[in-house]
């Protein structure tokens, strides 16, 4: 038994190219799964840490329309709580908060360090945020007694060059509400895991209101409710195991209070930020699984081939008394060795890959969502155990068919090698059919995950069929070229014969190319849809961000808009929430003659004065269509309005609701932004006029810049997918290289004979290159339609279900040519080394090998 095992394991060494290929396949799969999980978990962790810094142990918050609360509501609500009002039955603490993102620096010219400004009531806040000192401790008391003072987290202080332990106050400058404001730093506090997340500047609530020009307004009121959320435990576990794959698994309840105020679970708020980031992480997680599938396929193919090649040896072993079960176990042991080696290598590779991915994700997330992402991984064993477990389990699973085949070998001393029998081909077809059925069956169900599973099934099925397909193509060519020169016939037949080895690599190439093409088509459709959407919007919009709180537009600005912006559309926007969804509500005012549809890319209905238009993702999430009724929070409660149209929108932010002026809904007071849409040409003039008329602290920006920024963000997002795509391509090319090298070694003896007979040295080299070309071309022929299918599912199913937007098709011919070119290049790149090796080889040496190998 021990010797038997040794014989088997020695085979791994003798066939080391194939073994290496399998190990590499497993390790790349494991590495990508691990890297994606680590990167996703890390960026998610960053968001949660940032959230926890702000929320502390608060479980819920009271929020109001327009994301703010009149400060007079706070004593009233506190009184209700103290008097035992049922709505606050299980509330244990209540603390008002004013917060905004700001920047600080040592002098007014260098206010560049981003910090979250948090205005608190130190007395009410005691115990709410563990890190923040209470009124008794380290400078906490001075916040209340001395206006213009603040506390900063120690890590940020150090980054500014301030010694947190030094005594005495430090003068700092804060950029808030469009102005530079002096502040006195009276102390620091430690955030613990401060390396994660963003800086935190804590001050008294009144000071914060003054700095932010929000006197009289709160951002929200934090609550601690009795029973910490223990439900959703299953959802949280799922998120840990599949970071990025579970979108919005947690939803909190919203309870309405008086005057448009409502209690919201913070889990729900966190879920919103997660949902945004998840749309991006989903891409990564899906690609991680795909890489694993490709890796598994390599294992499956390699072991299958190894068993096939040793059929005769197995038959002899059976004849001399080795049991079928023993052979089966031996093959599984081989798989386990490959699996363990692959997993170990993969974990190392994964850590390394994760840092690269994280840098890219961090950049993207920062751009997309203004989130500060992390530079370090949380020491969490879950992703590592998961990747290792998945890798090992999958390797053994992929080896099952081969081990079963080994056990089926009939004993005999003179067994001849059998080609793939008709029954095994039938089984292959059956398996493929089942995979396809299962995948397509899942397509309509299970949300966007169903779409991804369908893609995976489609890819697997095609991978299984690839060798059959390539054989068919090559046989077809052989038949077509019936009377071709013998050298050509030799090429075709050797290529078919080599498929036992190269078929797996061909399949990997098909999967990689189809994925690349599918993603490429999706990205291109996305890009051109976004471009068209941007074009369709009214040209040259200006973006005016007012500083502070406004109940209506300032009179001068109003006048300037009426004068200079005639023939424009003026949009006044504020943030809000509807049914838990963050939304941006825009009050639309037309001035003079503007297009009836406002240049919106309308998908359904129209833009009309008697109702609302909503963006496509929001419409999908809330199940809205023309004719539906939407409950819109307004200054004095809630109004019911009819939806008249759904328009296209690719912003990654909240859903968009357009409210025509004619509906009579007034602008909700609060933090307002104004956008001016109109014909090109006079933007500069309008901008100059608006700057003159607007109150101090107003920022006027050309929207083009914002749009360029948005486009830049898209490009970066796709850069990450591009990286993973290249990895899949590299695996396939390496697979092809290993297969062609192994074939080259196997054929050395034969080349030796041919060279001796007088075949010149170029022929074997050309045979190698020709074989690689044939493989690549057959693979491309299969990958092109498959890639289109993948793109269809990505566009029509995954994007619609995960992100709520539809895309216009774009099939640029250059993408197909590119796929063809890349396939051929990969094939040639893989063939060059083996071809050169036979070209250089001495015929006498090759002949000697022929004598040995005969």
């Amino acid at each position: 038994m021990k010797l038997l095992l040794r014989a088997h394991l020695r085979h791994l060494w003798q066939d080391r190219w194939q073994t290496l290929l399998a190990v590499f396949g497993v390790s790349v799969g494991v590495a990508v799964v691990l890297a994606v999980d680590l990167a996703n978990a890390a960026s998610r962790e960053a968001m949660q840490v940032a959230q926890r810094q702000l929320d502390g142990v608060a479980t819920h918050a009271i929020v109001g329309a327009g994301e703010r609360i009149d400060e007079r509501a706070y004593p009233r609500l506190r009184l209700r709580w103290r008097q035992g009002d049922a709505a606050f039955a299980d509330v244990r603490a209540m603390a008002p908060v004013v917060t905004a993102e700001t920047r600080i620096g040592l002098d007014p010219d260098s206010m560049t360090r981003p910090v979250q400004l948090l205005g608190i009531d130190p007395t009410a806040d005691a115990g709410m945020r563990a890190a923040v000192p209470g009124p008794g401790g380290d400078g906490g008391g001075r916040l209340m007694s001395e206006p213009g003072t603040a506390l900063l987290d120690a890590a940020t202080a150090r980054r500014l060059g301030i010694d947190p332990d030094a005594d005495g106050d430090v003068q700092l400058w804060l950029q808030a509400a469009g102005r530079a404001r002096p502040l006195r730093l009276v102390g620091t506090f430690s955030l613990g895991d401060a390396a994660l997340g963003q800086g935190l500047l804590v001050t008294d609530i009144a000071t914060a209101q003054e700095w932010l020009e929000r006197v009289g307004w709160l951002s929200r009121i934090d609550l601690i409710r009795g029973d910490p959320v223990s439900q959703h435990a299953f959802g949280r576990m799922l998120e840990r195991v599949f970071p990025g794959l579970v979108l919005r698994s947690q939803r909190g309840e919203t309870e309405e209070l008086e005057d448009g105020l409502r209690i919201q679970s913070l889990a729900e708020r966190a879920a919103d930020t997660r949902a945004l980031a998840a749309s991006f992480q989903l891409n990564l997680a899906a690609l991680g699984l795909l890489a694993l599938v490709v890796g598994l396929f390599l294992v499956h193919g390699t072991l299958g081939h190894a068993v096939l090649r040793r059929q005769r040896a197995f038959a002899r072993l059976r004849a001399i008394g080795v049991r079928a079960g023993e052979l089966r176990r031996m093959v599984l042991a081989e798989a386990a060795v490959i699996g363990v080696a692959g997993v170990l290598l993969g974990l190392l590779l994964g850590r390394w890959l994760a840092s690269g991915l994280l840098a890219l994700t961090a950049g993207t997330l920062e751009n997309l969502y203004g989130q500060v992402a992390v530079a370090a991984f949380a020491p969490d064993p879950v992703p590592v155990i998961k990747a290792a477990g998945v890798g090992l389990f999958a390797t053994v699973l992929a080896a099952l068919p081969a081990s079963a085949r080994a056990a089926r070998v009939t004993p005999g001393l003179f067994a001849t090698t059998e080609a793939a029998s008709a029954s095994s081909r039938l089984r292959l077809l059956l398996l493929t059919g089942l995979l396809l059925l299962a995948g397509l069956g899942l397509l309509p169900a299970a949300g966007y995950l169903g779409g991804l599973v369908a893609i995976a099934a489609l890819l697997m099925a095609t991978a299984l069929l690839t060798p059959v397909w390539i054989t068919a193509v090559l046989s077809g060519m052989t038949r077509l070229l019936g009377a071709a020169p013998l050298r050509l016939r030799l090429l075709l037949r050797e290529a078919v014969r080599g498929l036992a080895r190269s078929g797996v690599a061909g399949a990997a190439l098909v999967v990689a190319m189809a994925t690349a093409l599918g993603m490429g088509l999706m990205v291109d459709s996305f890009r051109s849809s976004v471009d068209r959407w941007l074009e369709a919007r009214l040209a040259a919009p200006l973006h005016v961000q007012l500083s502070g709180e406004w109940t209506q537009l300032p009179g001068d600005l109003e006048a300037a808009l009426t004068d200079t912006a005639a023939g424009h559309v003026v949009r006044v926007s504020w943030s809000d929430r509807i049914a838990g969804e963050p939304v941006r509500v825009s009050h639309i005012r037309r001035q003079g003659s503007v297009p009836a549809d406002l240049g919106l890319a309308l998908l359904a209905g129209r833009f009309a004065d008697d109702g609302l238009a909503v963006s496509e993702p929001l419409a999908r999430r809330l199940g809205l269509a023309p004719g539906s009724v939407l409950r819109l929070p307004v200054a004095d409660g809630v109004r019911e309005l009819t939806v008249t149209g759904v328009f296209r929108e690719y912003g990654a932010g909240p859903g968009l609701i357009l409210v025509p002026e004619a509906t009579g809904i007034p602008v909700l007071s609060g933090q307002l932004a104004v956008e001016v849409h109109g014909p090109r040409g006079d933007t500069e003039a309008v901008a100059a006029e608006l700057v003159r008329a607007a109150p101090e602290g107003t920022r006027v920006r050309r929207n083009d810049e914002l749009l360029d920024l948005a486009r830049g963000v898209f490009e970066r997002t796709f850069e990450v997918t591009g990286v993973l795509k290249s990895i899949a391509g590299a695996v396939a090319a390496f697979g092809l290289f290993a297969a062609l090298t192994a074939l080259g070694l196997e054929r050395r003896a034969q080349y030796g004979i041919l060279r001796t007979l007088g075949v010149d040295r170029a022929l074997p080299a050309w045979l190698n290159l020709g074989e690689a070309s044939l493989l690549a071309i057959s693979a491309v022929l299969l990958a092109l339609p498959l890639g289109v299918l993948v793109a269809i599912i990505l566009i029509e199913v995954v994007n619609v279900r995960a992100f709520g937007w539809s895309l216009d098709w774009s099939f640029p011919p250059w993408l197909f040519l590119q796929a063809l070119g890349i396939g051929l290049l990969a094939g040639w790149a893989a063939a060059v080394a083996p071809a050169l090796a036979v070209w250089r080889a001495d015929p006498a040496v090759l002949l000697a090998e022929a004598r040995i190998h005969a």
Binding site: L486, R493, L757, G758, V759, D760, A844, R851, A854
Partner: protein, 224 residues
Amino acid sequence: MPAPLLEVTGVARAFLQGERRIRVLEDISCSLAAGQRLTITGRSGSGKSTLLNLLAGLDRPDAGHIRWHIDDRDWDPATLDEAARTGFRRRHLGFVFQFFNLVPTLTALENVALMAELNGFDDAMERARSRLNRLGLADRMDAFPGTLSGGEQQRVAIARALVHEPAVVLADEPTGNLDRESGDAVFAELLAVLAAERRALVLVTHDPELAAGGDHHLALGTAR
């Protein structure tokens, strides 16, 4: 005495095996005329295959000369470049190996036709067919080597060695892998064709009976 087809004078060849230098061939001389047969015998490891490699231009001697005289031209493989040596083998030599060594993905007919095609004969298929016919393989022409018996494969190999009408056939233990009876039959057929077409044969063999019938005989010792 016919004009010499092959003249070997004072050929020596040694190999480095690790630190040791093994002198396999030392001061070998012999000659052969057109249509004649040279048999080479010797113990395993005595350098028989090494000598064949030298004759075929697959290897160069350390000392001495090998001169072929074919088609009124002198050929010294050691002085030719790689392409010319390949061309020489292709045009003027035929090979029969111990393990037949047919191309597994070409049919019997195609294996034979390959040599004719390499030599640029337009009627490659025709020539191959008639060769195989003469060797009694008319009904096995479209079979792949894997389905032929050892004797059949060796007859295909003989057809391959002759189809381009070389001046000489080099055979390295052509019957070594066949049973006595088929070995004798195949060898007899080879001799018959060679005699009819006046082609020379250089034969390496362990079989004393086959070795006995040659015009020249070279017994290699184990020089060290």
